[in-house]
Amino acid sequence: MSPYFIDGNEAIARAAVEAGCTFFAGYPITPATTIFNHMLKLLPPAGGICLQGEDEIASIGFCLGASMAGRKVMTATSGPGLSLMSEHISFAIGSEIPIVIVNVQRLGPSTGSATKGADGDIQFMRWGNSGGLPVIVLAPVDAGDCYRLTHEAFNLAEQYRCPVFIASNKEIGLTRESVDLGSLELGEKIQRKCAQPFQDYLPFHTADNEMVPDFLPIGGDALVRQTSSSHGPDGYLTVDRQLINSSMDRLLAKLRDGGASLSLHELDNESGAQRLIITYGVTGRAAKEAVERLRAKGVAVSLLVLKTLYPVPEELLRNIIAWFRLVIVIEMNMGQYVREIERIAGNVPVLNYGRMDGVLISPETIVQVVGDEDLAQ
């Protein structure tokens, strides 16, 4: 056991550097600012770059430039900053620029409450881009998870060449706790796959059996074209319907077909249970405690804590939900991820308990909601 006393934000910063991030840019915003603070201490002395942009648009823009130069990059913000980043998130999706975007969520809407937690940006992260193409969203439950999922986020960003969100929350980012980092299982570090630097490099060409184009950095020997506009394999603007179509299909399919690497979760299944709690983020912690109390009271219940929210792990959810007679989705918002569960659950009824008032959902509340006898009807 090697215990450390860290908060979620420090865990993310440290894990990013461990994962090979050498470029960070951000704009101060509570409760994400301390990620910037940590990166500023970590990167420059190690030869990396940490910048404070003039706003969030610039911060993520710096990152996209540096990512195209071949760096592993990260930015961190909260809801109001994420709103400003939207156009560049669309750019990163459509033009396949790897980037990790940390969203330490705070109570919204709008400027909301800077120092109160919430999970109010879940659908916003998924859909806050023009074009509506998929992104990856990972949701940590605690500081240890922040460390592990940041490592994972960089791997996924490199592998799929797309933005990867870490859906943290003030209640994780600024809660300092004992973490046994030695017990975390981290996979191998993945680097984006590079093309041979031929002079006729096609920046968006994919081989027949590949879903992600091979990368070359701007500034290397072979000329590289990057564009935010609809493009063919050569990176020039195109209006060719077939080229655009196949590119859209590929951007959809590359994440849809990601398989096991895209369905991180923790399942605590109790045999014979008819009720399944589905939750994510910091609420997963209260749910674990609630499940223990419910079982102690003789209520059989299972718990699924999702760590990958997007792409929605549909097959996993479909398979698990089929074992149950009732699904209860608990989330720190007014009902967002429940929309995904409802469309997958088929005939299994789905209940939602959501609240967004700056206070954690307590185990007592979950016991009450889930243990309600009338639910069984």
């Binding site: 006393f5 970590l42 990057q226 020039y236 954690l360």
Partner: protein
């Protein structure tokens, strides 16, 4: 030297459009400088100027309206050896104004080429930030009400170290671009063009006015008062001087914990009392005894005034829920903190321990209360109450003992702060010996 023009991408500009001249001039400049395509990146945005990157065999990054300088900044810092040329129109200069100002202030070695044609050509001739007030545009009367922006004056004021204004047909344009590219710092080169597609017809005098400018170039190169260290050079120099960040502090388990269940402690204080530090000392102490911990804090954004509340959970088991509804211990050290958590006292457990400062009022309760006049009885000042209250806790509650407390102090504090904390702890411990509870 070989041309960098892309023979597969001929120019597509309207007949008579000045942009075509600038394309040629930029190529001549790059040739004069003997730059090959892979040493150059052209960064563009939206509008007619946004087509620029396609005309060259260089690296290219085409992005969102007004944002080229943001990508250029990331690229240049990541690859300082690249020649980075950002191209924007007057539209981009308006929508991306914050990045223009910031880039001028930064002085990173990027060359900004501004193709100013005084209107939004691509969307139908609306007014831009540089449109003259008397011009006829498709924005109706709106441009009559807004003063046009002089990009060169703006750049000079904001700190650009090289500023030049040219006409597209000038022989000097290529030389000017070449000088701007050679300049080691942020350069802004504005070319005044006439948009034949959208602007010239409604504003026939525009061409003549432009000619008049020709003999009055206001800006033509290095701005001596803005000459200074290039940002990237400065960044790398200062970065190399920064001390390496310390690795995580690993906590050695060398004490024994005396609790076998979760224990929740609430520290209620005020700004300036180092409540968070006290909470962290408690956490380090608990970890030194092999316990798991969580710590949350609550304080207003004006950090020097108001409440400061710290919530700590210690447990031999993994801690899941981090909230505290019914604490096992309350340290009531300032009225602001007590007021903030008044509701906690309403449902307080009967076996809760409250350690309170004599001058702090708390709602009535049946709990065990230890009251201390920190100043009178122990000579401890207001700001040291947090540490003092922990010292009290270490004398009376199993969650913390003297050895754990000492470990916590050594993990969290250094030098003078540590010495002061040890003195405070000593005073409390002597007081307890004389006044057993």
């Amino acid at each position: 030297m070989k041309t960098l023009l892309n023979d597969r991408r001929p120019l597509v500009y309207c007949p008579g459009c000045d942009h075509a001249n600038v394309v040629q001039a930029l190529n001549r400049a790059l040739m004069q400088l003997k730059l090959s395509g892979n040493q150059v990146v052209i960064v563009t945005d939206i509008g007619c100027s946004g087509l620029f990157d396609t005309f060259y065999n260089t690296h290219a990054l085409h992005g969102l309206h007004g944002r080229p300088l943001t990508y250029a900044t990331g690229l240049k810092l990541a690859r300082p050896e690249l020649t980075v040329i950002a191209v924007m129109g007057d539209g981009g200069m308006g929508i991306g104004g914050a990045h223009v100002i910031a880039s001028c202030r930064r002085n990173l070695d990027i060359n900004l080429l501004v193709l100013n044609n005084f209107n939004y050509g691509m969307t139908g001739g609306q007014c831009s930030v540089s449109t003259p007030q008397q011009a006829i545009t498709s924005s109706g009367f709106l441009n009559q009400l807004e003063q046009p922006l002089d990009f060169c004056k703006l750049a000079e004021t904001a700190g650009a170290s090289w500023v030049g204004r040219f006409l597209p047909e000038e022989k000097e344009l290529a030389a000017g671009i070449s000088e701007a590219v050679c300049h080691h710092g942020f350069s802004v080169l504005e070319v005044e063009n006439v948009c034949t597609g959208r602007y010239a017809r409604g504003n026939p005098r525009a061409l003549r006015e432009k000619k008049e400018h020709e003999h009055n170039p206001l800006f033509s190169g290095v701005v001596s008062r803005n000459e200074r260290l290039e940002y990237g050079d400065g960044y790398r120099r200062l970065a190399a001087e920064q001390p390496a960040e310390e690795p995580f502090t690993e906590i050695a388990v060398e004490q024994t914990a005396a609790i076998d269940d979760r224990c929740e402690i609430m520290l209620l204080g005020a700004a300036g009392q180092r409540m968070n530090t006290a909470g962290e000392i408690l956490c380090f102490a608990a970890m030194a005894a092999g316990l798991q911990v969580t710590r949350k804090s609550d304080y207003p954004i004006t950090v020097l005034r108001g409440h400061s509340v710290c919530e700590v959970v210690c447990s031999p088991q993994p801690i899941r829920y981090t909230g505290i509804a019914r604490p096992d211990v309350i340290l009531a050290l300032a009225p602001e903190g007590v007021e903030r958590k008044r509701s906690v006292f309403e449902s307080v457990k009967s076996d809760c321990l409250i350690i309170k400062a004599a001058d702090v009022e708390i709602p009535p309760s049946q709990c065990r209360i230890i009251e201390i006049d920190f100043q009178q009885q122990c000579g401890i000042t207001f700001i040291n109450r947090g540490v003092a209250a922990l010292a009290v806790l270490s004398c009376v509650h199993p969650v913390l003992n003297a050895n754990m407390f000492r470990s916590g102090l050594f993990y969290r504090l250094k030098s003078r702060q540590l010495e002061m904390a040890l003195v405070t702890a000593g005073r409390i411990s002597s007081w307890f010996k004389e006044n057993p509870q």
